[in-house]
Every structure is written in C-alpha cells, then in structure tokens.
C-alpha cells in the first residue's frame, strides 16, 4: 500500500518544501513579469528577442514545477 | 412503445438539441439586439453550439459522464443488444462499428454527389445545375469524402482493431471515445442542411474571402468542419494513450502490429495539426459573424494567412488518411502472402519521418497563391524529401509480395490494387511537387486525378481491404467471396478507367471546380462520365454483399485467415471484454514460416464460443 502511494505521487516532497517551492516559483515569475514590462516599455524596437529569452524560461518553470512535467516519465516503470 | 424504446436516447437527444438551439439563438439575439448588428448568423452559430451540447447530453453524456460532475453515480448505457448502437455506448467495438457504418453511408452519399457532378460534366456547357448548385454539390462531395477518408480508418478500424490487436479490453478513455463518435451526427446534419441555407461554394478548403461572404450555408459548413476537427482530435488523443499504456504484457514496441504503429503516427498528426484548422476556421467565422479583420485587407488582414494555416493542417491530414491505409496494406499483405512485414523497423522509422516532414511541406499548395518566391524551393525540396520514407513503405509492400505464396482472397486483391494505384498516384505527385510543372498543372484535373489516385486508389481501396479482412471478426459471419472478387475487379477496372483519362484532360487545360470546359474535351468527358457510373454501380454490389452476408452469411470461425495477430485469437465477434483471459505476447506478430514461433499465448480455458483458437498461432 505504501508503495502504491509512492507511485501516484512520485518522490513526494514534504509539505513545507512544497509550499516553499510554490512561493519561490511565484517570486521568480513575478520578477520575470516585471522585467518584461520594463523591457517592453523601454526598448521599443527590438524587444522581441529579449522577451523570448524571458518568457521561455518563465513558461518552462510553470510547466516543470507547477505542472510536474517530470512526473510524466518519472512515474513510469 | 416497443418500437420507440431502442431510439429513446436519440429522441431525447433531438429534444435536448432543440432546447439548446433555442437557448443559444435567444442568447445571440439578445447580444446582437443590444449592438444592433444583423442577427441571423450569430443566432445560427450560438444556436448550433447550444444544440451540440444538448444533443450530447441527451444521447447519454448526462447518464455516463455528467452525473459524476455533480456527485451522482454515473450509469453505463452498454448492453448486449443492438439497442446500444443508438446511444452512448463506451464499448470500442460498438463505436468502431458505428463509425464504419456511418461512414460507409456517407461514402455512398458523397459518391452519389460525384455521379451528379459527372452528369453535369458529360457535355460542355451548363446542363442542369446552376453554377452555384454545381459548386455546392462539388463542395459537399469534397468535405464528405474528406470526412470519410479521415474518420473511416482512424475512427472505424482503429477503434475496432487497435484494442484487439494490442490485447487490451478497451481504449484508454472509453467515454471520450464515445463522445468522438456522437459528435459526428450533428456534423452530418449540418452538412445536409447547407443546401437549405443557400449552399456553399468554397470547396472543402473554405478559402476566404469567398468563405467570409456568400450565403449562410457557408457558416453551417464551417461549423460542421470545426466540430469534425474536435472529433478527430479526441480520437487521436485516445489512441495515443491506448497504445502507450494498454498493450498486453510482453508486447514491446517492436512486437506491435504495423497497423497499430500507423494509427499511432496518424494520431500524432490529428492530435496536433487539427488545432490549426480549428483556429483557421474560427478566424473565418469571426471575420464573417463578428466582422473582424483576419483576412480582409481593408481591415488590415491578409487572405493568404488562411492558406498557410489551413494547409498546415490539411497537408498533414492526408497522412492521417494514408498512413493507417499503409498500415492495413502491410497487415493484409503480410497475412495473405504468409511472410513477415519486410523491413519492419524501417517502415516504422519511415512513418515517423513522414509525420515530422509532413509538418514542413504545406506551402506546396501555395505555389500559385502569391506567396514569396524564395519559399518555393525550400518547400519543393521538403515535398520531394517526403517521398523517400513513402517509398520505403512502398518497397516494404513489394518486399512482402516478393516470392510470397499469395492467397488471393478479396482483401488481398484490394491490397494489391492499393500498391498499383498508389504507384500511379505517387509518380504523378512529383509533377505537382515541382514548381515549374505545378504552375502549369495547378487547379486542373491533373490534380483531381492525382489525389483520387492517392486517396481513393490508395485509401478507399485499403478501406475496402480492411472491411473484407475484418468483416468476419466484426459481424461474426463470412462475406460472399465470389461477390467480393467480382466487386473487386468491377471496381478496380472501372476506377482506373474513370480517373486515368483525367490526367489528360487536366494537362489539356480542364479546370477543376468549374462546371464547364472547352469543347475539345467533350468526347473524353463523356467517356469518363459513362465509366464513372459503372464504378458507382459496383458499390451497390458491395452493399448487397455486406448486408445480405451479415444476415445470411455462413457463421465465421474465430480465425478464418489463419492469421497470427491477436484479434484473430478470440471469438468472432469478440466477447464484450475482448479476451476471456488477458493474452500474453511472447513473439513477433509476423513470423510466418518460422517453426514453433508463437505471437501470443491466449489461454483456451476461457472457452471462446466459436471453438478454441490454439494452433491458430502457428504459421502456415
């Protein structure tokens, strides 16, 4: 039975760690968003490459930590 | 009452759909009433959305699914009687049969429309259809046949076959599976209603600005196409999850039957690329109904955008059609030539390369559309590139036939015809991939002949092979072999005689999608029309054989073809749980002629009703 729970939630962190992770990720996303705004307002032509550099890791962080992408293959045997 | 009871879910669904339509259209008239815009098309669009939801709830989504959302216990509507074919049954065999029957009917209807077109084209000038009516008939023929080509294999055969071929008891998401089928009837109803709303003259490609103008029939067509795309996406999702997770113990990736691989690849395309056509159609509808400016250059739009988005789906879509057809082809060839699938691993690799390359060839449909010139060469190169993996699959088919002991039953004859037809279709494709020749041949009957050789000669013939091949498994009865062979020769000869001359009419300048042509082509077109009716009549024999055999045909044994794959190791038709005991896969599916080789151990203790299946595992 214990094993089964392990399989459903692969490498389940402690609840405190999970909460902390959520806050860190959220903080990073906020920082990303504000940097984006600054870039978007200040650098009027040519913001696109910089924005891509910010957005891709930002979206990646959500997909990786919030949506648990690694669990897709991590949960498999 | 007893007459009504089998159809009570359909009746409930129609009632709910009516209610949904009223709610949706009232909502739309409220919105448009506030802004003072014309209300007809918004009412149709929102009313349809309401009707679709009502229809689905009524047919059984409520009982099987939605009860769960509010905390009630869901009810199953599966039953061991023919009544379940008219409600939300989640049995993949029922759904597969529903798909097959529906789309054979659609095939016949669309074929009838083709006959109407041929009558009009028998002589130059306008015979009995107005231009608008000709366009409507042509467009309906197009979109219905596209639906047949996309959904018959991946909806019908894949649904019925894939869980059996991989030794599972159902698909991964049975309810989504049922949903993907029950989305289809509203599509059919919408398309059949289009003539009442003025028809539509865009062809199945729905290019703006024509599709943003014109009668409301166009809107119905756009809605139908969009809904059909949803069904296709859900089907693709389901098969991917099924194939990844539900293979029988021991069935590693390299032991999967080739048909399953082909469905996997087609499902990848239909899962992803279909969203593009959904987006494109949504944009057309927004332009049309709300007055946005995606494709209207007066409003900052660009009509060429649609062609890019549309073909980003619709070119990969031809591989949704043809890849599973190749799967059936190799499957049937292997079983009836009593030889393994030649170069199995290369074929699988080729299928995946086709999936990848199919996403970067779309603009070869745009050579004459005003796309920047520098894009011509890259897309010409990628298009030619995709013929390499296709050629590998073709060589694999030849490799199976080579020195095999061919058992020329009806399915095998159809499979051999696929090889022949696709060769012609493939070679003529080169002229359309190359920019210099394509600029001359674009929008002529050369194109018509080419894609009828690939899609009809390749895929519809493969569908026929599949129907005859799995007929005993699906119905539990054997079709009439003599009628089957007669149907084959009848259809094969008349098909070639119909479409081969179109290459010449095309080269001589006959335009597609036009009701008229120049007088010098009159004789050839009269011949084509005459033979096309011979071909149309061959389908009557097919339908007669299918219907009469399902009633009076001899009872089929579990494995009439002595084939090795798993679906033949259970009774015909299979029990509801497919296998009385879960099969254990221990060897390759195609090792014909290898002594003592066994594909799967299916415990006979389960006692299938049509006799034991052991011994059938052995090669011929």
């Amino acid at each position: 039975m214990a094993l089964r729970k392990e399989q459903i939630v692969a490498h389940k962190p402690s609840r405190r760690d999970a909460t902390l992770l959520g806050l860190v990720v959220f903080g990073a996303l906020m920082a990303m968003e504000i940097m984006e705004l600054v870039i978007g307002v200040r650098i009027t032509p040519g913001a696109l490459p910089l924005l891509v550099l910010l957005v891709v890791p930002g979206a990646g962080v959500i997909v990786w930590f919030f949506m648990h992408l690694p669990a897709v293959w991590g949960g498999e045997e | 009452m007893s007459f009504i009871s089998p159809f009570r879910f359909v009746i409930r669904a129609l009632v709910f759909a009516t209610i949904g339509f009223i709610i949706g259209s009232l909502l739309a008239s409220l919105i448009t009433g506030a802004t003072g815009e014309p209300a007809e098309e918004p009412m149709l669009a929102l009313g349809y959305a309401g009707a679709l939801i009502g229809w689905l709830l009524g047919i059984g989504v409520w009982d099987v699914w939605a009860r769960e959302w509010i905390g009630l216990q869901p009810r199953s509507l599966n039953a061991q009687s023919w009544h379940q074919y008219f409600r939300f049954s989640t049995d993949h065999k029922v759904i597969g049969t529903q798909y097959l029957v529906t789309f054979v009917v659609v095939l016949l209807l669309a074929g009838f429309l083709a006959m109407v077109l041929r009558v009009e084209l028998a002589q130059p000038g306008i015979a009995f259809l107005s231009d608008q009516n000709y366009n409507t008939v042509m467009s309906l023929h197009g979109i219905m046949m596209i639906a047949v080509a996309v959904a018959t294999i991946i909806g019908g055969f894949a649904n019925f076959g894939v869980p059996l071929l991989i030794g599972a008891d159902d698909v991964a998401f049975p309810r989504i599976n049922a949903l993907s089928y029950w989305i289809i009837p509203p599509v059919a109803i919408l398309l059949l209603l289009t003539p009442l709303f003025g028809g539509f003259d865009t062809g199945w490609t729905a290019y703006p600005p024509l599709s943003t103008l014109g009668s409301s029939g166009t809107l119905l067509f756009l809605l139908a196409f969009l809904t059909f795309g949803l069904s296709s996406i859900l089907g693709g999702l389901n098969f991917l999850a099924t194939i990844v997770f539900l293979r029988a113990p021991g069935m590693g990736w390299s032991r999967m039957p080739i048909f399953v691989w082909s469905v996997f690849c087609a499902a990848l395309i239909s899962l992803t690329a279909t969203q593009f056509v959904a987006a494109g159609l949504l944009m057309v509808m927004l332009d049309r109904v709300v007055g946005m400016g995606f494709f209207d250059s007066n409003r900052g739009g660009d009509a060429l955008l649609f062609e890019h988005i549309f073909w980003f789906y619709s070119h990969p879509a031809v591989y949704i059609m043809i890849l599973p057809a190749f799967g059936i082809l190799l499957e049937v060839l292997s079983h009836f030539a009593r030889k393994p699938v030649y170069a199995y691993r290369w074929v699988v690799a080729s299928m995946f390369s086709i999936v990848l390359i199919s996403f970067i060839v779309w603009a070869h449909h745009l050579y004459t559309s005003g796309m920047p010139d520098f894009l011509h060469i890259p897309f010409m190169v990628t298009t030619e590139l995709i013929s390499i993996p296709t050629g590998v699959i073709f060589l694999s088919a030849l490799g199976i036939i080579w020195r095999g002991r061919l058992w020329l039953t009806t399915p095998m004859l159809f499979a051999l015809a696929v090889v022949f037809n696709f060769l012609i279709g493939g070679i003529t494709g080169i002229f359309l991939a190359d920019v210099p020749t394509d600029i001359h041949l674009q929008d002529t009957y050369f194109v018509v002949a080419h894609f009828h050789y690939t899609i009809m000669g390749g895929e519809i013939f493969a569908i026929m092979a599949g129907i005859y091949y799995w007929y005993p498994k699906i119905t539990g009865r054997m079709y009439n072999e003599r009628q089957g062979r007669l149907h084959f020769w009848w259809m094969f000869i008349s098909y070639n005689a119909t479409f081969l001359p179109m290459f010449w009419t095309g080269v001589w300048g006959m335009n597609r999608r036009v009701a008229d042509y120049t007088d010098n082509l009159a004789d050839l077109n009269l011949i084509i029309t005459g033979i096309s009716f011979v071909m149309g009549a061959s389908f009557l024999l097919f339908v007669y054989n299918m219907v009469s055999s399902s009633i009076r045909g001899p009872v089929a044994e579990a494995n009439p073809w002595r084939a090795r794959t798993l679906e033949w190791q259970t009774s015909s038709p299979p029990p509801e749980e497919n296998f009385t005991t879960p099969p254990q896969v221990v060897g390759d599916p195609y090792d014909y002629g290898v002594p003592d080789s066994v594909h799967a151990v299916v415990s006979p203790s389960g006692g299938s009703s049509d006799g034991p299946a052991e011994g059938a595992d052995r090669g011929a």
Binding site: I8, E33, P45, I62 | F173, F245, A279
Partner: protein
C-alpha cells in the same frame, strides 16, 4: 486468479488509471497549445511587431499578476489535496476562483477600453480580441471545473491521496491557462 492479478497490477489498478489520465491531460494540453500557437503566429504574420500606443500597460501587468497568483493558489490546493487536507484544499480552490473572476473582470474592463481605441474590426483589434477572448474562454471553462471541484470537495470526494487526481488535473489545466497567458501577454502588450 489471473483476472484478479490484472485488476491489481494491470490497467485497471488505481495507479495505472491515474497515469493514463495524466498522459491524456498532457496530450490534451499539447493539442490545445497548438491552437494558441496558430493564433499567436497569426499576430506576427499579420502585424509583425506593431503595437498601438493606447494599451493600458498598468492593467495588463495587473491581470498578469492576478493570474500568476491564482497559479500559486491552485498549486497550494493541489498540495493540500495530496496531503488529504480538505479544509486547505477548499480554501485554496476558493482563492483561485476568486482570482480567476478578478482576472475576468480585468480583461472585461480592458475590452471596454479597447472598444474605443482599437475595435475588433481593425487590424490589431482583431488579434487583440481574438487572443484575449479565446484565453478568457479557457479561463471560464477552468472556473467551471474549479466550481465543480469545490462542490465535490465539500462533500469529501478528494479527502484521500488516492482520489485527489481531479484536483491535480484541474490544477494542471489551470496552470496551462496561465502558461498561455504568459505567452499572450508579451505578444499583445510588450512586443514592439
């Protein structure tokens, strides 16, 4: 014997069911992402990096932060559900619904402003209203799902670790809606 074995460890076991559902949801998200890709590429195809001057940048940043915050709360709801903490799950689902509604109100106000600056019949307005509208449709469907979750969680449906998959699934979908906005926001507001 064999059948029992199959139910215990095969495709009908609870953990296998969760795995299948998880992959199914990921495939759905992958598919849906293509829809957004099509719309976002249309923006660049039609208008390059053109940006009108009368976009409300403060409001754009505001709704973005609200949506990111809702991602945090739905993440916390998921964590709470995975520990069987019903009260915390309930609370965080409610927070998420509230933030989602706030986001919708923000977008609604933007629409109201945008109607006067670049109505949907103009070039940029077409893209703006379509992208935000399609995204808002996703937000609304997510809110409906969260509403059902709230109702069912109140009745104790997701109280144990084995049964909380619907919370995980809804959270994933909600995060995906957030990811879509992370891409849409610079596409509409910041690119120039």
């Amino acid at each position: 014997m064999t059948t029992e074995h199959a139910v215990e460890h095969g495709i009908h076991s609870p953990e296998m069911r969760v795995k299948i559902n998880r992959i199914g949801l990921w495939l759905f998200i992958l598919s849906d992402a293509f829809f957004f890709v099509a719309l976002i590429s249309s923006r660049f195809y039609l208008h390059g990096t053109y940006r009108p001057d009368d976009l409300n940048q403060a409001l754009g940043l505001g709704v973005s932060i609200v949506l990111l915050l809702s991602s945090l709360t739905v993440y916390r709801a998921e964590v709470a559900a995975s520990y069987g903490d019903r009260a915390a799950t309930q609370r965080n689902i409610l927070f998420t619904i509230g933030l989602g509604l706030l986001f919708a109100v923000g977008v609604g106000y933007e629409w109201y402003e945008a109607f006067s600056h670049f109505p949907p019949s103009t070039g940029f307005g077409t893209i703006f209203f379509t992208l935000t509208g399609v995204h808002a449709t996703h937000v609304f469907s997510g809110l409906i799902v969260l509403g059902f979750l709230w109702w069912l969680n109140r009745r104790g449906k997701y109280s144990s670790e084995e049964t909380y998959w619907p919370v995980e699934g809804a959270a994933k979908y909600w995060h995906f809606v957030d990811v879509a906005w992370v891409l849409i926001y610079p596409t509409l507001y910041l690119v120039s």
